[in-house]
Symmetry: C2
Subunit: 451 residues, 2 copies
């Protein structure tokens, strides 16, 4: 039995929704369908969710909301008409939006409630369409499904007891259509997950009903061994482990929310990446353990910009017990998340994301504290760093992985600012100047996958 | 003006002392001579310092000390006779030993006083010999030189005010001969430096009298770019920086005590390594900044065994703020010094010297604490690791340094357990299985110095 989740681009128009219906019709194992709000139909289109956020903004600052409301309703009206279903339901949507704007006074609550409409209206439309074409389906609100969450607006966390409630829906005769992205609090308020949260709903449902597999449909068939926007025609991945996904996602592979992976990782339910526009392609499977570790010791290379390093140096630093711990304490006191800590004998570097220093004084204050507590001979800040990750479960048992990487950097005349590889050896990290990122990724890809 | 320090093997016999006298005679810039106790004359010989320690042990447990005393006195007697100086002084040494054994009741104080005799007697003999051959010299005790130290037996630390007192001896007409290895406390007790401490005395005198250079004479002419016991005929280093020395010393180059380097590093006095048996060779100079950084970006490769790593892994570890700091706190609480901390996304390794776990329960207790505080999915201990350091001030500005290293490992089929290179880039560290250390060092040497 399967849970399938469809992303915004898969549900952006009547023609997309028809593709989804075909997928469900052709696979009787799909018993639960989690839907996103309608996404962009083309590059210049606006997502329904963004329109709902704009509606909230305009309402908050007292500007007329009519035009945006119309834009939202027109979109659903168009879908309903194109699907040839009763448009009465769209009138109900409009009434519901009005009602929310008038009854909810707390601004954050209102935002969550409005945002949830994108998915909620879509689920109702889609369920009605399924029934019209003879696919027995039922719309189920998150409340009816038993998705109970904590009370922090925009950052709902699932209450563990929900899994038991969700399981009660396991044996429905009908295909259940569930809006993604939100749950309800114990007090009955609608609370959304963090952005991209329809994946979270899908994962929660899959775990709750103990699905054999969780199918995640977008407009992509695969995860690739390198970013297709940077490396030309990269190799498509058949199987990747959760841990590999995490390590790749860290440096630029923004496919899944961590929070969406966790519920499934814990119970070892695999995720199948599928393409709504080409469902015949098997796609990439995310698993706990993968085969083919020997054939593909490295699963992918990825990179991300926007890192900064602080290096301090003082003669005999290494003889001071606990100096690393004390240094990290300073970063923690300044609320800075640290990524890598390469150490020399009398120097230590701390590498972190630069966006944590958007308030410029924050870096100065940090450096001042380090100066005062460590009196280093030398303190050096390096900006505009990129971090490259080479990831693969098979690296541990394969000689020469590091050498292929360093050869790629040396051949393209790239200066290595940091190397970090630990004993678990599922990943290896390199810091280089940001300007060299594209060149580096292309050369690495060549070395691992084409030579 | 120079300060010259001579090691134990340079002063082990009359013939060695004659070489030293020649060196002083041929270089009128040497105004201060710091001497060690007589060392080994051959492999089966015993150092005077070890005999003095044995004397203390026998005395403490109430065994007759006559035989050891005689061995010590005979050694000095032999030197005096061979140098053809008045042996009356050796009788005084004997009386002094007796006196110490009878008057000092505190065992630690007695040990320090006895150990200091090795250097002290030798300085007196040598000064007398210098005068006999027409080299105007004067024996100066550490007290007379103004070397005042803290009161911890066996671990004296210089009191900063000493430098002013030492400076008062700057303009002596005579060559001053000073025993190394000890100073006096404010209360007048003799306190020794940590072992190898004659180097410390030499450095302190050089700084106190503001020497232009500190010459350190042993039976070696050079520091080499690799350990001559492991790599055949390694390249001799002309100039090396203090920092490079520190990084090399960390992994197996045991040439200098850190404590001996610090006083000189702070005031930028260079150290010249010289060989008593071949003083015509210029030797290796230790400096604050070196030339030839372009020609020799890497100055040396070294390695040491006896490391252990602990790796923990838990899904989403990386999302917890401060987890590295908390983990290091556990190691600190268990009094474990940590050397390297390579990090993955959801795992972290801690590499340290294994001799800290000689009490076997210590490791188990540490692991138990980690288990309890981190609940990792997986905790792995890897033993028998060696760490290799590649060191050089020029590495920062040279592309391809890392690649030469990883090529050496890959070509010899060596599995890399850890790589650590930080932003200061004066060194790069690799952990490998201990069994591969020799092979790795030889291949690295080839790649950096012979290709």
């Amino acid at each position: 039995m399967k849970v399938a989740k469809f992303g915004g681009s898969s549900l952006s128009s009547a023609s997309q929704i028809k593709k989804v219906a075909n997928i469900i019709r052709n696979d009787s194992n799909i018993r639960f369908v989690v839907v996103s709000a309608p996404g962009k139909r083309n590059d210049s289109d606006i997502k329904i969710t963004d329109l709902l956020i704009a509606l909230h903004t305009n309402h908050s600052i007292g500007i007329s909301t009519t035009s945006i409301e119309n834009q939202i309703i027109d979109r659903y009206q168009q879908i309903a008409e194109d699907l040839d279903i009763d448009v009465a339901i769209v009138k109900e949507f409009q009434a519901q939006l009005h009602d929310l704007l008038q009854t909810i006074t707390n601004s954050e609550r209102l935002l969550d409630a409005l945002k949830s409409c994108g998915e909620d209206f879509n689920a109702q439309l889609i369920s009605q369409y399924f029934n019209k074409i003879g696919l027995e389906a039922e719309y189920k609100s998150p409340e009816a499904m038993g998705i109970f969450v904590t009370d922090e607006p925009g950052n709902a966390q699932l209450l563990k007891e929900s899994y038991g409630k969700i399981a009660e829906n396991k044996d429905s005769d009908k295909v259940l259509v569930i809006p993604g992205f939100f749950g309800v609090s114990k007090k009955g308020d609608i609370v959304t997950f963090s952005r991209g949260g329809s994946d979270i709903t899908g994962a929660i449902i899959a775990r709750g009903v103990e699905a054999d597999i969780y199918e995640n449909y977008t407009d992509q068939s695969h995860i690739y061994s390198a970013h297709p926007g940077i490396v030309k025609n990269p190799h498509a991945i058949n199987e990747i482990t959760y841990r590999e996904m995490r390590e790749l996602a860290y440096s630029g592979f923004g496919i899944f929310h961590d929070e969406a992976l966790t519920p499934l990782y814990e119970v070892r339910i695999p995720i199948q990446i599928k393409n709504t526009n080409a469902p015949e392609i098997v796609g990439t499977k995310i698993v706990v353990d993968r085969g083919e570790v020997k054939k593909y010791p490295v699963i992918g290379v990825s990179g991300d910009e926007g890192f900064i390093s602080v290096t301090i140096k003082r003669y005999l630093l290494n003889r001071e017990v606990g100096y690393t711990r004390r240094l990290l304490q300073i970063f923690e006191d300044h609320d800075i998340n640290v990524e890598h800590i390469p150490t020399g004998i009398d120097d230590i570097s701390v590498v972190m994301r630069a966006n944590q220093f958007e308030n410029n004084n924050k870096l100065e204050e940090l450096l001042e504290d380090i100066e005062q507590q460590f009196e280093p001979e030398w303190i050096h800040v390096e900006r505009d760093l990129a971090i490259i990750a080479i990831v693969g479960e098979g690296m541990r048992d394969t000689i020469g992985i590091a050498n292929k990487a360093t050869a790629a950097f040396a051949d393209s005349n790239i200066s290595l600012r940091m190397i970090n590889q630990g004993a678990s050896e599922i990943s290896m990290f390199f810091a280089i100047p940001s300007k060299d990122l594209k060149k580096a990724l292309n050369n690495l890809y060549q070395n691992y996958f084409e030579k």
